[in-house]
Amino acid sequence: MNNVVKQSLAGLRAMLVLTVLLGVLYPAAVWGVGQVVARDQAAGSLVSYGGKVVGSSLVGQQWKGGEWFHSRPSASDYAGATSGGTNLGPGPALDATVAERAAAAGLDIASAPADALTASGSGLDPHISPAYAAAQVERVAAARGLDVGQVRSLVVAHTQGRTAGFLGQPRVDVLELNLALARLAASSAG
């Protein structure tokens, strides 16, 4: 019994001491390094437009209206308050959800790219596939009265290949593409 009390008291003291080291000093040190070497990343890779923060280049957003490139479906409509997926596995429930998504976006299930019909795990996927971006070019160009070739070259300029040539997948960051689109529209209007 004496030993149990003795070891538990040592445990209590150890927890308190280690909390200072690991729960205060360590995160503070990493924070400090971040402020020096990676300020932008530490803050969340924020993106500004017209002098205001309008999002993060890492976090996807909901885009409505024909004049924007649309993101993938999301279990949380990209609200950002709580992240997560649908957790639907292959089966009738997922098929029904996919049919609803296709109807809402006016897509043909048989020909639409897979990422246009599926929600990501985070609900915050910032990317779409080059195929889904290409499928939206004509709609966006028509809605904005822009030249299709001009919009297409914008998509090509915003298509990222695999990281270091082999990691991950080719993709298009929707927020960055849409901001470039908005700048293009603003400059051609002005």
Binding site: S8, M15, A43, V54, L58, V59, S83, F166, L167, G168
Partner: protein, 550 residues
């Protein structure tokens, strides 16, 4: 480049990195836990003085076990109090948990499980995340490491009755292994885009006229140790699928590397500590074979499913794709980490069944920090016992006889997890309290519940997240599974260490079954797969297998 070439190259780079690091890291860890001549580091002396423990005194297994339990129970009480009181502490940001959720969370993080019945964005204040969860993310793997080293000392030593000093093992594992590696990893993750700030969630107006909440937090420091310590508890609900936890394909590869690196280096530590590096190679071969098989199986299932109309992309991030999601899934379930970069419940039936099987192997492929090594050594004891019976030789491991006491302790330690999983899944299937929480019905529903209890009893923490686990009954039974699944085997492992350490090492003779040969490693793999298969085949047949065949 095709997806296949990209996926294979990713795996090749990962394996090459692990192959390069496991020898120096394993050797370093062996030195950390035997370092007597160069003495203690200054910061360690300070910790010992503040804790009022004598680092020079050695403990018998009973005292060692009492220290492990005392430290862990104190950890649960403190973390529970911190979560329960977060509303009245500074920086609360409106975060709140029910008391049953708080208890579940406290047990979960202290047992290195990191099952989460709450959503990180809503359930935890920044104070709980850093002072509570980040700290347990360090000390719970350090406890696993200490127990593994105590068992190895039982095999390596041949005089006295002491298995080490828990406080020294705990502090050294933290200060010399986990902290420096985590600090480097955190900075690399930061450079890759993982956030590290003190901002509250901010609502920003979007260009298209909507609005979005952008989260803040000290994420990079927690993400690094979350993976390195095979913890897995996400800062955010979506875990490593969240762009602020895992922003790109490079950070994704780094996170997979971090969760595998210590478990795959420990066989080297074992080989060095017992004075026969070939023993370490055999254990490494065992772990790597199982990990390779699980990666191949889950990848095959998911890539096959990706041939369909939906490309297997439901629940997966486009920046990773199918191959890296399957690689992460097999690695996180094989290491008792439980972090996810894609939603396991949305996997194909065989892919989801594969990651479930990966946990049911008992977390030895390569297992959690420390727990993987002691789990594998328990199976090694079982393997020498079974092969001893087959060929009529006295079962021995490293010259230590496996007698009645040793095999009883080993068998009990190995039976705790299957008993917890099957009993609680069975109850769950008939109790409306559980079945009403399922998202799916039929075989997929059984897999959901079995996955939850397997995840808890194996201290993994990943989930088929459609299962709504945040009810008092589910929270408390899962907490019980996590506690018993962690500490009953730990006490039995320490008892085994205590029993082995008193034995003199017998010299090798013609009757000795060598435990470093490929033949033994193959037997070793066979025992793990057959034991798991025999135990869980009926349940797996009713769950994922039935779903895949229907």
């Amino acid at each position: 480049m095709s997806d296949t070439a990209s996926g294979l190259l990713t795996i090749a780079v990962l394996v090459a990195a692990l192959a390069a690091v496991h020898v120096p890291l394993g050797t370093w860890m062996a030195r950390v836990f035997t370092d007597t001549d160069r003495g203690h580091w200054r910061v360690e002396r300070l910790v010992y003085r503040l804790c009022r423990v004598d680092p020079a005194s050695e403990q018998r297994w009973t005292t060692y076990a009492v220290a492990v339990l005392g430290f862990s129970v104190v950890g649960i009480v403190l973390l529970f109090a911190l979560i329960a009181l977060q509303g009245v502490l500074p920086l609360d940001r409106g975060a709140a948990m029910n008391l049953d959720t708080a208890l579940n969370t406290a047990v979960s993080f202290v047992t290195n499980t990191n099952w989460q019945s709450y959503a990180g964005e809503a359930g935890t204040s920044p104070l709980v995340q850093t002072l509570g969860l980040t700290v347990q993310n360090f000390v719970s793997p350090a406890v696993g490491l200490a127990v593994a080293v105590a068992l190895v000392r039982g095999l390596a030593r041949s005089s006295g009755s002491a298995v080490g000093n828990f406080w020294v093992d705990l502090v050294r594992g933290t200060v010399r292994v986990l902290l420096p590696l985590a600090a480097v990893a955190a900075v690399v993750l930061l450079l890759g885009g993982v956030i590290q700030n003190l901002s509250a969630p901010t609502t920003v107006p979007t260009v298209s006229g909507g609005s979005q909440v952008l989260q803040g937090g000290l994420v990079a420091s927690q993400e690094a140790i979350k993976e390195l310590g095979t913890n897995g508890g996400g800062y955010f609900n979506a875990n490593s699928a969240h762009p602020f936890e895992n922003p790109n394909a490079f950070t994704n590869l780094l996170e997979i590397f971090l969760l595998l690196v210590i478990p795959f280096s420990l066989p080297r530590t074992y080989g060095v500590l017992v004075g026969d590096r070939r023993q370490g190679w055999a254990v490494l071969g065992f772990m790597a074979t199982l990990w390779g098989l699980m990666v191949a199986a889950v990848t095959w299932a998911e890539v096959s499913a990706a041939g369909g109309r939906l490309g297997g992309l439901e629940g997966k991030e486009l920046r990773f794709g199918v191959w890296p999601s399957a690689l992460f899934a097999a690695s996180t379930t094989g290491t008792s980490t439980g972090a996810v970069n894609s939603m396991h419940e949305s996997f194909s039936p065989l892919g989801g069944g594969g990651v479930l099987f990966s946990m049911l192997l008992g977390e030895v492929s390569p297992g959690g920090v420390g727990s993987g090594l002691y789990g594998a050594l328990l199976l090694a004891v079982l393997t020498v016992f079974i092969s001893g019976l087959m060929v009529g030789r006295t079962p021995e491991l490293l010259g230590k006889q496996v007698g009645r006491r040793e095999i009883t302790l080993t068998a009990l330690a190995l039976l705790v997890m299957p008993a917890l999983v099957l009993v609680f899944t069975g109850i769950g299937m008939v109790a409306p309290l559980v079945s009403s929480q399922m998202l799916a019905t039929g075989p997929h529903g059984l897999t959901e519940v079995m996955y939850a209890y397997a995840s808890a009893a194996n201290n993994n923490g990943s989930a088929f997240a459609g299962f709504s686990a945040d009810t008092p009954y589910v929270n408390l039974t899962l907490a019980l599974c996590m506690f018993l699944g962690r500490f009953v085997p730990i006490v039995l492992v320490l008892a085994l260490a205590g029993s082995l350490v008193t034995q003199r090492r017998r010299p090798v003779n013609a009757g000795t079954l060598p435990t470093h040969t490929p033949t033994f490693a193959a037997l070793f793999v066979g025992v793990a797969v057959i034991v798991t298969g025999l135990t869980f085949f009926p349940a797996l047949a009713l769950g994922p297998l039935a779903e895949a065949l229907s």
